[in-house]
């Protein structure tokens, strides 16, 4: 029951983070949304593990916690060094 409540809360926050990623005017908003979406996925997987009585699946969220960091660093680095000289945030206009 309490895990279900936690899952629900996390799902709601995931939806909100997704909305930020879809809307986010600048590229950094999107990166940040991806990052916290990843964090929320970590929580979600952990809670689902408990929800289904198999908490030994925490390995997955551990992997996420690590990989998420790598991805954020990579994205950040890419945009930091590739964007120079161009107006960042502008090519996102496709929305």
């Amino acid at each position: 029951m309490m895990f279900a409540a936690g899952t629900l809360a996390v799902l709601v926050s995931m939806a909100l983070a997704l909305a930020r990623a879809l809307l986010g005017p600048t590229i950094y908003d999107r990166i940040m949304a991806v990052n916290s979406f990843g964090t929320l996925t970590v929580i979600l997987i952990a809670v689902i593990g408990f929800l289904s009585d198999r908490p030994s699946f925490l390995d997955i969220s551990l992997v996420y916690a690590l990989i998420n960091f790598i991805t954020t660093i990579a994205i950040m680095k890419f945009f930091k060094y590739n964007r120079i000289g161009r107006r960042s945030g502008e090519d996102l206009g496709g929305l």
Partner: protein, 317 residues
């Protein structure tokens, strides 16, 4: 699950596609966990969220980041897609329902695997035992595909410096996989994290028999460690840390370990990839065989991932 699906559908309209594909893969993995496929979720976690995004970004850095603005509303494509979707939905009307235990897929070989694999191989993770033992040929083939893909990437863009004819102006600053000198905080944290991730990769490799994990996942995590290293300390340093011949040897030797296990079984009187022949006790033999095979897979995958990344990242010099 529905939220994940909505997010995925939304994805196609967007321009910052690569980042959204990161989100896409995250939600896909959450979906896999809900659907009880933890090993798949593990793989998607390590592959989709990490390596695929990083590779896409590297390609973007090498080419252009801006899509030509034009009207994408392609009616004929939409019509074809809608027709295909409608036909498929019509096709699903005959499919078994979600979660139906009597669906044909659950009746044929799966109960056999679930019942026998613990007895025959002593490995509680059925996915691992099926992967490495029952469907060993398959996995051997797939490991070879990975090896071949990495080798092809090497052949395509691995050699020589590219000559930029058009596109990116020459004066553009370096594309960003050079070292990250002015980031002391990142460097210190990376120094703390990298050994931890490496140890964790080995844990995943060894624990694959008992929980989610195994060669593919461990290989990818191992590879991501070096990707992190390359991101923070620079590609050149990574090339020094793990030399070209080491990478190539890793790629090749993984496949060799796998195939060699099969040949060893052959020499010891079994069939190819029949691990029961490896030791006197068939169950222990199976266990050893699965371990060796997973090791081979892990070595190949990590070698390939590091190679592919370094090739992509090292392009712009």
């Amino acid at each position: 699950m529905a939220a994940a699906a909505i997010g995925m559908i939304r994805l196609r309209n967007l321009f910052a596609v690569v980042m959204l594909s990161g989100i896409f893969s995250l939600s896909a993995a959450a979906l896999y966990v809900v659907l009880d496929a933890v090993d798949v979720a593990f793989t998607e976690a390590s592959v989709g969220a990490g390596i695929a995004t990083v590779l896409m970004l590297s390609t973007l850095a090498l080419t252009t980041t801006e899509e030509a603005i034009k009207d994408h509303r392609n009616m004929s494509a939409l019509v074809v897609v809608l027709i295909a979707g409608a036909v498929l939905i019509y096709g699903t009307l005959d499919m078994p329902f979600y979660g139906d235990p009597m669906a044909p897929i659950h009746l044929h070989v799966a109960p056999l695997y679930l019942r026998d694999s613990i007895v025959a191989t002593g490995v509680p993770n059925v996915v691992t035992s099926v992967l490495a033992s029952y469907r060993g040929y398959d996995t051997l083939g797939e490991t070879t595909v990975i090896f071949t893909a990495a080798a092809s990437v090497m052949a395509l863009i691995g050699r020589g410096r590219r000559k930029v004819k058009h596109g990116v102006p020459e004066g553009a600053p370096s594309h960003g996989y050079s070292s990250m000198k002015p980031h002391p905080i990142l460097r210190v944290t990376a120094k703390l994290l990298i050994p931890a991730i490496l140890i964790y990769a080995f844990y995943v490799q060894a624990h694959g028999d008992f929980g989610p994990g195994g060669g593919f996942q461990a290989g990818v995590i191992f590879g991501s460690t070096f990707i992190l290293y390359a991101l923070i300390f620079g590609v050149d340093n990574t090339r020094i840390a793990i030399r070209g011949w080491v990478r190539r040897t890793m790629m090749a030797s993984g496949v060799l370990i796998y195939a060699g296990t099969g040949v060893a079984a052959l020499l010891l009187g079994g069939n190819f990839l029949d691990y029961s022949a490896l030791l006197h006790d068939p169950v222990h033999g199976q266990h050893l065989g699965i371990f060796l095979v997973e090791l081979g897979v892990g070595v190949t995958v990590s070698g390939s991932m590091i190679t592919i990344f370094l090739i992509f990242a090292g392009q712009d010099r």
